[in-house]
């Protein structure tokens, strides 16, 4: 909308200036073109950036609601400054002491188990996700249907092309079980009891 209006304005401006033969007018025309082009681009970038931020923020709160829906998990938003993960999610059952990390990718495109358009994820971000010594997932959020799809990101060799799985009450239970299962294999209580801190 803004870009179209700017282009129309520029066309009018050029029409009114284009008839003049004086060389300085041509410089002026060139200057106007450059200025208008950069203005159009920057306004466009701002508009695209705004829309993208809005979708991102909406996707994050949809993820928060979905992960909280069955009261199995407690998400903590890590803030925009974190490079590769958006949430640390703790199991609500404190006996289990488990947690996992999530990066949220949001789109206004329709997603479904059958139809899953590719969403770009920077390879360095993926590598960073793989390096976390805890279960790590990418949550794809369809902001229109408010559905969330999860895909594990546990390692490069295990990152398949299988489509992500929708987070429903049933798969939420599966998620709880697999995260709990992971942490039950990692027995850390003896590490803590023998850990010697200089801040004790």
């Amino acid at each position: 909308m803004v870009a179209t209006k700017l282009q129309e304005g520029l066309t009018e401006c050029l029409k009114s200036l284009g008839g003049k033969r004086h060389i300085k007018s041509r410089w002026l025309v060139g200057g106007c073109q450059c200025l208008a082009k950069s203005l159009t681009l920057s306004r466009l970038e701002i508009e695209v950036g705004r829309a993208s931020n809005s979708i991102g923020r909406l996707g994050e709160v949809i993820f928060e609601f979905t992960i909280l829906r069955e009261l199995r998990f407690v998400p903590a938003f890590l803030g925009d400054k974190w490079e590769s993960v958006d949430y640390l999610v703790e199991l609500a059952d404190r006996e289990q002491h488990g947690f996992f990390f999530v990066q949220v990718k949001s789109t206004a495109q329709a997603l479904s188990n059958e139809r899953f358009p590719s969403m770009p994820i920077l390879s360095e971000k993926l590598e960073s996700l793989f390096s976390y010594p805890a279960p790590t997932y990418i949550a794809f959020v369809d902001t229109n249907s408010r559905k969330v799809y999860l895909k594990a990101a546990m390692g490069r060799d295990r990152f398949t092309s299988n489509p992500p799985v929708e987070l429903t009450p049933e798969t939420s239970r599966t998620l709880e079980e697999e995260v709990s299962g992971y942490w039950s294999l990692v027995e850390t209580s003896h590490l803590k009891s023998t850990f010697e801190s200089k801040f004790g």
């Binding site: 705004r50 979708i55 928060e64 609601f65 009261l71 407690v74 609500a92």
Partner: protein, 144 residues
């Protein structure tokens, strides 16, 4: 607050955020450190901000008295922020809203504890936000 209640409250706040951001995508959500708002939203294209208090419907009768005392407590000193009450019910992305406090003509907050809770709609959210933004601009003029 017990763990389960705490998680239910987090879920209620997430529902409120989904409702608000779905209605006005440019709205910015900020965390609140005050005791009368669970979070704060900044209205798009305005410097006005609104504190959002989120309640679960089942807790509303118990909470109303506390809410009344808290809301009243900030009225005497040139109040901090208008307050939007969002009441959600269970795990559905739906709810009811009431604008509990807004800027008055004298620049102080006007409390309306009898404000009727209305069913959520994107138009209702935008209407409330517009009301706050308009009053905020009037208050700024008054102050200058």
């Amino acid at each position: 607050m017990r763990r389960k209640e705490h998680i239910e409250q987090l879920r209620a706040e997430a529902i409120a955020k989904v409702l608000l951001l779905s209605s006005a995508p440019d709205m910015l959500i900020e965390e609140s450190r005050s005791d009368f708002a669970d979070f704060v939203v900044r209205i798009p294209d305005s410097q006005a901000r609104v504190g959002v208090e989120v309640k679960m419907r089942c807790n509303l009768p118990r909470e109303k008295q506390r809410l009344l005392s808290v809301t009243n407590s900030f009225a005497p000193y040139e109040g901090r922020l208008p307050v939007l009450l969002v009441v959600v019910d269970g795990a559905e992305v739906d709810g009811k809203l009431a604008l509990l406090a807004n800027w008055g003509e004298d620049g102080l907050l006007e409390i309306s504890m009898d404000a009727k809770l209305l069913p959520y709609s994107p138009e209702l959210v935008r209407k409330y936000m517009d009301e706050v933004a308009v009053r905020f601009e009037a208050m700024k003029k008054l102050a200058s």
